[in-house]
Structure formats: C-alpha cells, structure tokens
C-alpha cells in the first residue's frame, strides 16, 4: 500500500477504489446490532436514525470505515460507532457539547451525494429523488464526513438522508435554532441565569449597560458623550442600545438613526477612532455633502481639530468579494481522500493565490495600519465609514485597537473587544454566517472569520504580545457555528432583545437567558481551557495586572512616535469663526482624499512600519504586522487540522506548546502545594496524586500529532505518509532535466 506511486518504472495512480468488498466481509462478521443512543443535551430531540451506516475513516485511502448508527437531532448529526470508542476517554481537550463524530446542524456547510460514482451537490431538488449511496458532509469547521448508506434498509437510508438534508439545508426560522430549546428548559434557564451572573463577575465586559461604556471611556480617557436615548430602540433598531458619540454632535433624532459617528476608541494622545454608517458618496448631493461636513467637524472637534475620513467600501473588497474568495479558499482544505490531497499539493501556492483570501487579509491589515498611523503618528481623529457600518468597520476598528492597545491582547480584553465592536456593535451575525440557510446569497460573508484571520496573523508574528493562543482563536472560530450561544445568533441588539423576550419560557417575567460563548466552561473543562493561554505571553509587571482585574484597566502605553503637530486645541474657534471652519473643512477633505489614494497604499505606510521596526520591540506598546508576501500565512491549525496527510506525529507547534505548558503547570502546581501547606491543616493532604495525574495526562499521549488538540489520529503506528503520484508533481520540461546528471563525469558544459 505504501509503495504506491512511482514504484519501479510504472507509476500506479490510485483511482476510485472499490469500497464494496471489504465491508461485505465485515458485515458477515458483525451480526449483533446494539441499540445505542446519543447522550442528549437538555432540550435535544432525536429526529431519526439509521443503522448500520459506514463512516469512512480519513486516515488511509483504502476506503475502510467503522460501522455505527447515524442520528439526526435538532442539534446535530451524530454518528455512534458500534465499536467501543477508546479515544474519547483519553482526550485532554474534549468539547462537552459535541464530539468528534458530531456535526452541529449549523456547522454543516454543504452536503454531497454520490450517485453512481458521481458526486453531486445536494440541493432541494435532489432530496426528493433517490437517496445517494454515499453522503459527504462538508462542515464549516472544515471537517469532512463520508457516510455510506448502502448497508442500511432502504427506507431508513432515505429517511436519514432526507432528514439530514432537510434540517441542514432548508431555510428555517430563528425559533428552530437549538439554542432556544437548549436554554428554554426551566432547569437550563436557572443555570443560565447563574452562569450569567458568574460571567459578569468575571472579566469579559459585555457592553450591554451604560456602566460598561462609561468604564471604557474612563479607561481610554475619552472625551465623548454616552447616548442612552436608544435604550428602547427609539432612535434606530440598527443601533446599539448604548453607544458613545463625539460630544460636539447635537441632537441625534434628526439623523434617522443613520450616518453619525460612533466612538470606538480613544488614543492616549486624545484623538479617537470613530465609525459611521454612510452611504457611499456617489453623486454630488448637496445635502449629503453638508451632512458629511457636520459629521467631520464633530469628529474633528474631538481633539486638535483634525480629522480624516476613510470610506472602507471604496478601498476594501466588498462583503461579496470576501465571501467568494473564502468559498474558493476553503475548498483547498475540504479534502476527501489522499489522491485529492496529493494532486492539489502540486499547485498549492498558485491555488492559494488565486483564491485571493490571503490578499484580502493583507488589505485589511494594511488598512488598519494606515488608520493606526493617523492616530499614532499624526494624532488625527479618524472616521471610518461604510454603508452599514457594521462589517468592515468592525474589522478595521477592532484591528486598530488590538494594534494600539495592549489590553485587547489579553484574553479578557479581546473578548470584551468582540463584545464591544461586534456583538454590542450590531454586526449582523445571523445573516453573515447564514445560520438559517437563507437562499439570499447577497448577505452571507465570513467577515468575523476574516477578523479572526487577521488577528491570527498578528498572533503569529508577535506571539509574546498576546495572552491567548492560536488554539483559542480556532475554538472561537468554531464556536460561531455552535447553536448554543446567544453571542453569534442575532443581527443587532434590538433583534436580540426582541427575540429573547418572545422566546422566554417563564411567561413575561424575564427574557430568555442564553449562555454567551465566553462561558467557556459550557464547552470545555478548566484543564482544556489551559490551551487557550499562550505560555509565552510576556506579562507586564504584576500590579498592573491587578489593576486590570479590578476592572480598571489603564492605558499602558510606551512613549510612541512624537506627535508631529502638537498645537493647543482651539476650543472655541469653530462655531464662532465661519471662515476658519471652512478652511478646516477644506483641510479635512484634502486629508481624507490623500489617505484614500489608490496608488500603492502599501508605500504610504511602509515608512511608518520601518520607523516602528527600528525601535526596540515592546510587546506592550504599538504592534504592527509585517505584510510582505511571505509574512502573511495560512492559518495552519484551523485549516489543516483534520487532514491526516499533514499531521506530524510528535511534531508541530504543539510540541513546543506542550513543553512550555508542562513547565508552567508544574510551577503552578508547586505553588498550589505550597499554598496548601501554608494553611495549617493542609499538611496532611498528599499532593502526590495530583501532580502525577498531571504528568500522566501529558505523558500518556506520548507523541502528539501536530493537529493536537483537535483531530486525533488513530494511526498510532507512526507510519509515514508517503506521497503518491510524485512523477506528476514535477515535470521539468526544460532541456536541463535531460542533461547529463553530473556534468563533470561525461561532458564539459560551458
């Protein structure tokens, strides 16, 4: 099997392997059908099941598999093996909600059916007809499942296929999302309310109360005004419940809830970042121009009378472009068998490039660096605009804040940032993630994932600056498609509130309470949560950490580039002096045009990046990404974790991480032991079992695969993965190839 490829002079190309024979033999051997049922979560209901179903293992290309039962519930598609699973018990990183053979319905991306050896995408029309012999499920977290339906009774097969297709592909209403039945049970409600209280006691700031905003303004020393008029969504349903605006802005009711700047973050110099939803400037509309001027003035008034504006929809790809590019990109990772893998390996780099995904990441980071430059170097207020103001504005403003503010590079800070900019900031998660399988393709786009990708690039380049690990980001990106949390289920704050009220089980007493995704204990036990932390994080001195814990995170910044134009702000200049204001407006406009100059935006920030690079690196100061070609990489952990061909047994970054974590956990254990000993009774406690248990849990896994903690390879024998079809991979057609092997030996070439 391993010598496939160019063995001898003949190269055998593995074609579609007949998969009927091995299982038929196996069928005879396995007569007992044990009825197994999945452990249902609260509120989970089983719809249908079928047995026996063969699940192909991806580990080898021999088309073998495991027999078991396939279930479809209102939460997931799940496969339960007839054999005893030996892996589950030893896992150190186990998701409590779904296991390796569970696919949350929301996580299903596409379903393919194999009809007479032909793979077809399952859409509404095909479901009615004949069921396929093989069902292939592509998940949003890039897992690929292949189930063979031919061994089960025809009606069962039909039922399960149609059931799965129906629940995963058909458009449905928000009410049907599992989160509501999960949290809807009275028991879960009580639990959720307790969890919610605990959550608030912890550190993730949810930004759903005026206090959270005041706190944040205090922390960044912002000089803006908190708006509470939208508490009952009277201003607009698309606006957050609470938000902050420049203090110079007047009455908000005249704007119909659109087109005014919303404060994002204040730089320690005093200038600030604002975002606004503005339609693109298409025609020379006088009213619009006037409106824009007022907005800019309000922004400029915030600090030093300078402002720049940037229309993101003009300079960045549209959300449809992003969607298209990601669709192309993810195909390279949804790999069904080895042959496909090695075939696609040959053109790997050019395929990546053609998808344009990495380029979009680069553009977003680039734009964020431009904004950072304005804030940091020029100390100018920046207003970023976009039609909706909740897509790319969120990406850019969050990235800018991560680059400038070390607080957002801590785990809690990052979660608060996602709450602030994305959840409270009304990013339309429901539409963008297409949780309800709507047919309207226009509004789907992995914008939040794009943001996580950009953050990953930063984490990759400056890992000691971040308290969280790439595993955390990967888990967060998966959690978007787990329909248990309220965080990513709604289109806006208003949407959330109205749905939660309507779905409340306890009559009109209180709205439904769902766990937020930040409640990591819902998914992982505390030991698994250790993987979220970056062991290399260079923490700042302790007292500052204590300050942060006490909810008063300070602005800790190192001295940055000198502000170029520091003039005392003219406090009363604007409204009094008309001509002066006109001049200002002109300047503002000129600046804005300069900023959005289409000719090589990279060149404009290059100098900024280089001067930053020359200074000694400070992980608690400004952080800029390198954006040159080789520096923007593929998020290996997220995209390659399920592909057995690329698993490195005993290697990968996990080898380093595990080792560092090992060391850190030992230090912590010993500290704990000492603490125990300090208390008088603790002397009797034997700490031995605990420590040994720790060591065992790492030791038993011996050599982990690079995909740890995600995919577990059953391939314990450390067999290498040998590429097939090498000859096809590299056809050097040049004359050089046919030249003498060793020039010196036969001919002399000049």
């Amino acid at each position: 099997m391993l010598s496939l490829g160019s063995v001898g002079a003949k190269s055998t190309k593995p074609s579609f392997v007949s998969y009927v024979t091995p299982e038929e033999i196996k069928l005879e051997k396995e007569p007992p059908k044990i009825e197994k049922h999945p452990d249902l979560l609260p509120g989970e209901v089983e719809f249908c099941c079928a047995n026996p179903i063969l699940k192909y293992t991806q580990d080898d290309m021999s088309q073998r598999g495991i027999f078991g039962t396939l279930f479809c519930t209102n939460f997931r598609v799940t496969f339960i093996s007839d054999e005893k699973s030996q892996e589950e018990t030893t896992k150190t990183f186990k998701n409590k909600l779904y296991g390796e053979n569970d696919i949350p319905l929301m996580c299903v991306d596409h379903i393919y059916g194999v009809y007479d050896e032909k793979k077809k995408l399952i859409t509404g029309g095909l479901v009615k007809n004949k069921y396929p012999s093989k069902m292939i499920i592509h998940c949003k977290d890039l897992r690929v499942f292949q189930f063979c339906l031919t061994f089960t009774k025809e009606e069962d097969a039909k039922k399960i296929f149609q059931g799965i297709a129906h629940h995963c592909l058909e458009e449905r209403s928000l009410k049907c999302v599992f989160a509501f039945s999960y949290s809807g049970t009275p028991k879960m409600q009580r639990k959720c309310i307790i969890l919610d209280k605990m959550q608030r006691k912890w550190e993730t700031i949810l930004f759903d109360s005026p206090e959270d905003w005041t706190q944040e303004m205090k922390r960044t020393r912002a000089n803006c005004r908190l708006v509470t008029e939208n508490e009952n969504f009277e201003l607009s349903q698309r606006l957050p419940k609470y938000f902050v605006i420049p203090s110079a802005l007047g009455d908000l009711f005249s704007y119909q809830g659109k087109g005014f700047p919303i404060w994002c973050w204040s730089h320690h110099s005093g200038c600030a970042l604002f975002k606004a939803s503005l339609p693109p400037v298409t025609q020379e509309d006088g009213d619009f121009q006037k409106h824009l001027d007022i907005m800019l003035n309000a922004v400029a008034h915030n600090y030093l009378y300078s402002a720049k504006t940037e229309d993101l929809s003009e300079s960045l790809p549209t959300i449809q472009d992003i969607q298209q590019s990601y669709n192309k990109f993810k195909q390279f990772f949804l790999i069904e068998n080895s042959t496909d893998f090695w075939l696609s390996d040959v053109k790997w780099f050019s395929s990546l490039e053609s998808s344009g995904w990495l380029d979009i990441i680069r553009q977003c980071l680039q734009k964020a660096v431009e904004v950072v430059e304005c804030l940091e170097k020029d100390n100018t207020n920046v207003l970023i605009t976009e039609e909706e103001g909740t897509d790319l504005c969120c990406v850019i403003s969050s990235l800018v804040q991560i680059m400038l503010d070390p607080y957002y590079r801590t785990l809690m800070g990052f979660q608060s940032l996602v709450q602030k900019e994305w959840v409270a900031g009304c990013h339309a998660f429901l539409d963008r993630c297409n949780h309800l399988h709507q047919k309207d393709k226009e509004c789907h786009s992995p914008v939040f994932l794009l943001f996580l990708e950009c953050v990953w690039q930063l984490v990759q380049q400056h890992s000691p600056a971040f308290q969280f690990s790439e595993t955390y980001l990967t888990v967060l990106s998966d959690s978007v498609d787990v329909p248990v949390f309220s965080t990513f289920l709604f289109n806006s704050a208003h949407h959330r509130e109205s749905v939660m009220k309507a779905e409340s089980p306890l009559a009109q007493s209180s709205p439904l309470s769902c766990p937020t995704v930040w409640d990591w204990s819902v998914q992982f036990d505390s030991k698994a949560q250790n993987f979220f932390f970056n062991p290399l994080y260079s923490e700042k001195v302790k007292h500052e950490k204590a300050v942060r814990k006490a909810h008063k995170p300070k602005h800790q910044r190192q001295l940055s580039l000198p502000s170029t134009a520091f003039k005392p702000p003219s406090k009363k200049g604007f409204f009094k002096d008309e001509t002066d204001s006109l001049k200002k407006i002109l300047r503002v406009k000129r600046l804005s045009r300069w900023m959005g100059s289409p000719d090589s935006p990279a060149a404009t920030t290059r100098g900024f990046y280089e001067s930053w690079k020359q200074r000694p690196l400070d992980y608690h100061g400004l952080l800029l990404p390198c954006l040159d070609g080789p520096a923007v990489r593929v998020w290996m952990q997220r995209y390659l974790r399920w592909i057995p061909e690329v698993h490195i047994m005993g290697g990968g970054s996990v080898a380093v991480m595990t080792k560092l974590m090992e060391l850190l956990s030992q230090v912590q254990d010993l500290k704990r032991v000492l603490e125990q000993r300090d208390s008088s009774q603790a002397v009797k406690l034997d700490h031995r079992p605990y420590i040994q248990h720790r060591l065992l849990s790492f030791g038993s896994s011996g050599r982990l695969s690079s995909s740890f903690p995600f995919a577990y390879s059953r391939n314990r024998s450390f067999k290498p993965i040998i590429p097939t079809g090498l000859m096809q991979s590299l056809m050097v057609t040049d004359s050089l190839a046919s030249q003498e092997d060793e020039a010196s030996s036969f001919v002399s070439l000049v």
């Binding site: 063995v7 001898g8 040959v346 490039e353 990046y609 061909e645 005993g650 990968g652 050097v732």
Partner: protein, 628 residues
C-alpha cells in the same frame, strides 16, 4: 607624516595609515595617531589587519597584513535596493569586503567574506561624470552594487582588481584564506569525526559486517573514505572487481545499520550496466549479502534517486540501473529527484523572486514557479521512503544516483536524521556531515566553486544548501527534536562559502589529506564547539528511540525566509533569531530555577512538618520532566 585612524565597528578594526608607500609591498608599521579631521581628503593606503570576528577582544594577526589599495572614503556609493544609494567607504582585505556608510544614521554597514562572491563585474561603461559601477553576485542570495564617484582611473581600477584577485584566489593561483587563518580555539574540530568510533557506536564491526581496509590508500576509489564497511562474506578482491562495475568505483558500502532490526542503509553509485545490460556477479553477490545480513527481511530495496527517464538515458553512457532480473529479491524504486542543473536553475529563479524585492501580490505563484519547494519535497519524500523501509519494513536499502555524491548523500543523511536521534544533536550532526558528505566525497569544491571566478561553471549546484534546507524543514516540523537551532544551520551555510575554515574545502577525503587541510586550516567545528551555547535549541528534548517521519506535503513546507530573504530588512525578524532562542533558554532556566526552589522549599517543609514521611518528598515531586 603618518596619520592613522583606528575604527572599531562590529568587531572589526580598520587602521588606515596615510604614509605613502606605493612602491613597497612590505607591511607598514602603522603609527597609531588618531586624526579627527581631514583624513578623508587624501587618497590613502589602508593597512588592514584582519581581526577575528568571533572573538570579542580585538586580536590582531600582524603576520597577515596586506596592503590593499582603496579609494578615498567618500567616493563609494552602495546602491542598496532597500534604502537607496548609500555613500561611504569601501575596504577590501584579503578576506572580506567592508563597507561603512558615512552619511546615514543609524550607521549602516556591509561586511561580507569575499568567499561568498560568485561574480564580480563592471556594469556599463564609465559615464561622462566618470562613474564606474560594478556588481557583485553572491552565493548567499544577494547582489551588491557599488558606484565609484571618483574619476581617478588608477584608484577605481584597483578596487576592482583587488576584488578580482582576492575573491577568486584559486583562479589567481593563490591559496584560500582558510590557509592563513590562524585562530586558535579550545577544541580541535578536526577530531570531531573518527570513522572507527562512529562505526563502533553503531555496533560495527559485527558478525555480518566488517571494516575493510581495501581503500586505505584510496586505490579502490579516490572519492571514498579510507574506512569502508562491507559484508563479511565479500572479500577485498571481490570489492575490487565490483569497483569496476560501479561508476567512479563507488561500491555499495554501509552507511548506517539499525540497532535492532539490523536493516542497513547502503550507499553506492550507479551500476555500469550500459546498453548491453552488463552484469557483475560479485555486485549481485554483494547485494545478496547485504540482504542476508538482515534476517528480518527477504527483500532489498534499491532506491535510485533519479527520475526513471534519466536513469534509462544513462544506459547510453554506460551507466544505468540494476535490473530486477539480475538482482533477485531486489525491488527498484525511482525517487524522481532531478539533476544538479535543474537544481541550479531553480535556485537562480528563487533568487530572482526573493531578491531584492518581493512582489506581494504574486508572491505565491512566483514561489511556485521556482519549483524550489517541490524539489525539497521530492528529496524529503525520498528520504522518508527510505526511512520507512528501514524502520517500518525492517528491510535493508541501497541508495544511489549517478555518481552517488550528490543526491545520494542528501537522501542517506536525511534518512539517517529521521532514523537516528544521535544525528539530531549538535555533535552528531557534525559527524553526519563529516561522514556522509565530506568523507564520502561530495564535491564541495566543484559544487560551491571556492575561490573560482568561473561563475558559469556547470558543476556548481546548491545540493548541500538543499540538504540544509530539508533539515531546516524538519526542525520546523519537530521543534523539540533537534539539539541545534536555526542559527547553527545558517552558520554552516555562511561558513560553507566564506572559506574561513577548512572544513568544506576540496572534493574528497583524499584531496583534503593531500593538501594537508586539517594541518593548515581550522575546522568549522572548532569554532562551533567553542561556543555551543549559541547554537543550542532550548526546546530540545532527547528521545533516543524516536524516529521522525516528517510531512512532505507542500502545505507544510515553507520557504526558509530567515535564510533566503534575510537581506531584506522588512522581512528580518524583530530580534535576531538566536537572540530569541537565548531568551527562551533564559526563560526556561528561570522557570526551572523556580521549580527547584519550590521543590526544595516543599521538601524542607515536609521534612520539618512530618519526620516519618521524610523519604517521600524527594520521590513525590517528580523532577522536571518533559514530554513532547
């Protein structure tokens, strides 16, 4: 009359003396007068002392002073592709080229050994203003360009000529600088590799393998080492007959033997089968003996590194490959690795793509078009298959290409790294290089072209670079499995070209002995082993029995940015790589110290609090252990 100035910059010192001594070739006794002003104005002769770069103290080797004529300091402009033209002074010694800018803050400098130059040429004719520019193509993936503003003919000529002379000493019948470098290190690196000791480590000789002295005077094969391990059942006489059947007399000999299964890695050159299908019964017997020496398997695999087409084409020239009819129980596998010319071309394209500027938007497709990583993949895949056959299949393997000195050492040494953890240590890796590459006659002189001005030489090829790249790929995939760090690999490559050490000189063991290289030069390992802490990977965990099977998919291969693109200031890591490693080391030491302190404290407390359990605390707290 003597005005001189000592300049200390990055551990190199320049002493320039303004005394006129055009006629004399003898070293000038420099007067150490420090002159602050006006010293640029007069064309000066610079007396340069080569200062050893690796010692922090300034050490002058007065014996090797050369008088080198340079133009005045202000005249030279270095056309830097990253920051634009930089003006400054250019100094050329018999070992290095040194440029220091005078008009820029922070101080910008260039400092490279002349050995890395592969080509020095004038670009264009002198312009009307008298500018002359010349380009230097380097072996380490960069090109330099200097422009002389100085119109005075004699001077600019001299820089060019000096460069031509000292950069290519071999072409000028001079000796390489390594023969003049007399730094003394605490350890003698020439003693790192003792073939008999290495074979003894592998348990050789043993019942079915013996160490033959047939090549003691390099009569059997001049490119092989003196000590050869062959099956006991094959006599020296038979070996002689086999040597006429294998290209260049490079007979199948053992490289490595599996300590448990006895499966052996054997290397050779191609059999001289020719068009008529010549056979050699001694050769067939030898392969049978290799197979018989391993009781675990009744098969033997012959890995021919070449694409089958090329192997077949070699029959026209008298070479070829083993036919499965002649060799019973042998299975022949072609590994499809291309020849030295394809590799050279790939490197040339790679250089075009990475230097000086990277085209961001087409970076990936440009990278793909160089095929560099595909070649790396094929080499790694070949080594992986060899390692798999030996480890999982418990089968002996024979590896050869055409002459067995390029692709063969790539494959065997990579397979050995996968199979034997000893070769992943710093000293083990040195032994591996000394054994598989140097003693078995990889033609370093030809492939690198030390001191040779013939830059178009078709014998040059980045074979060794590819091997180091493959090792680097493995260190990426297994960050805790190697004792050495990236800086170690980069140092090896830099010193490969620098000609400062004797290690990589000549083409074979025989030549090195004839030239008395070990006697007259310093070994690179003397330098390395005298400051091991620079090269240690802090994450290293020694697992004696682990076999590494890397993933060879392109998805897991990366371009070695910190080597190939290191000249681009934007791509340079914020801190030098080894600096980062040192920090990691310090961090680990700090943590370990804390652990130990806590342990001691805990032990004391236990001891004091409960005397009856006095024995347990030492065992209860496991010493710092690590698991990968």
């Amino acid at each position: 009359m003597g005005r001189a100035r000592v300049e200390g910059l990055s551990s190199c010192a320049l002493i320039s003396c303004s005394s006129v001594c055009r006629s004399t070739k003898t070293p000038v006794k420099a007067n150490f007068l420090f002159c602050q002003r006006n010293w640029f104005r007069i064309p000066v002769f610079v007396v340069l002392y080569y200062i050893d770069f690796c010692t922090s103290s300034i050490l002058m080797v007065l014996k090797y002073v050369f008088i080198v004529c340079v133009s005045t300091a202000k005249d030279v402009t270095y056309i830097c592709p990253f920051v634009g033209p930089v003006r400054g002074s250019l100094t050329v010694t018999n070992y290095r080229l040194f440029f220091r800018c005078t008009d820029r803050e922070p101080v910008f400098g260039l400092d490279l050994p002349l050995g890395v130059l592969s080509r020095v040429e004038k670009i264009g004719a002198a312009t009307s203003r008298g500018d002359v520019s010349y380009g230097l193509a380097c072996k380490d993936m960069r090109n330099l360009r200097f422009v002389h503003k100085e119109p005075e003919d004699s001077l600019k000529k001299s820089v060019f000529e000096v460069l031509m002379k000292f950069a290519f000493p071999v072409s000028n019948n001079m000796s390489l600088f390594a023969f003049e470098y007399k730094q003394v290190f605490p350890e003698n690196g020439w003693r790192v590799y003792d073939p008999l000791a290495e074979y003894k480590r592998q348990g050789l000789p043993k019942e079915s393998w013996r160490i033959s002295k047939v090549n003691d005077h390099y009569e059997l094969c001049d490119s092989y080492p003196a000590a050869l391990v062959v099956p006991v059942t094959i006599t020296d006489e038979e070996l002689r007959r086999i040597s006429s059947f294998r290209a260049k007399g490079r007979i199948p000999v053992l490289s490595w033997i599996h300590p448990e299964s006895q499966a052996a890695v054997v290397r050779a050159s191609q059999p001289m089968v020719g068009q008529n299908g010549r056979r050699c019964k001694e050769d067939e017997k030898l392969l049978q003996a290799i197979m018989d020496a391993n009781a675990q398997s009744h098969k033997i695999f012959i890995f021919d590194a070449r694409p089958s087409v090329n192997a077949a084409a070699n029959k026209m020239k008298g070479g070829g490959y083993e036919s499965e009819d002649a060799y019973q129980n042998a299975e022949l596998v072609f590994l499809d690795i291309h020849n030295i010319h394809v590799m050279r071309e790939s490197q040339r394209k790679l250089k075009e793509v990475v230097y000086p500027n990277i085209e961001d938007s087409h970076w990936l497709s440009n990278l793909e078009s160089t095929h560099w990583l595909e070649h790396i993949k094929l080499i790694l895949a070949g080594a992986l298959r060899i390692a798999d056959k030996v480890e999982s299949g418990k089968t002996s393997v024979v590896v050869h290409c055409s002459d067995g000195w390029d692709r063969t050492p790539q494959l065997t040494s990579l397979a050995l790294i996968m199979l034997d953890s000893h070769y992943r240590t710093i000293r083990g890796f040195q032994i591996l290089l000394e054994k598989e590459w140097l003693s078995f006659g990889h033609r370093f002189q030809q492939r690198v072209g030390h001191g040779d001005k013939n830059h178009t030489d078709a014998d040059r090829s980045p074979i060794f670079l590819q091997f180091i790249d493959c090792v680097w790929q493995m260190t990426r995939q297994f960050p805790a499995a190697f004792e050495f760090n990236e800086y170690f690999l980069i140092t090896i490559l830099d010193q490969l070209y620098s000609c400062l050490f004797g290690t990589f000189l000549c083409n074979s063991e025989q030549q090195r002995l004839k030239e008395e290289v070990p006697k007259h030069t310093v070994s690179l390992w003397s330098f390395v082993n005298s400051q091991l802490e620079e090269f240690v990977n802090p994450l290293y965990v020694h697992y004696p029995s682990h076999v590494l099977f890397p993933t060879v998919g392109i998805r897991h291969l990366q371009l070695w940015v910190t080597y190939y693109i290191r000249w681009n200031p934007r791509m340079r890591p914020q801190e030098p790589v080894h600096q980062r490693y040192k920090e990691l080391l310090a961090k680990r030491a700090e943590l370990q110290k804390r652990v130990e302190e806590l342990q001691r404290e805990a032990a004391n407390r236990t001891a004091s609090s409960s005397s009856e359990r006095a024995g347990s605390p030492t065992r209860s707290i496991t010493p710092v252990q690590t698991f990968v």
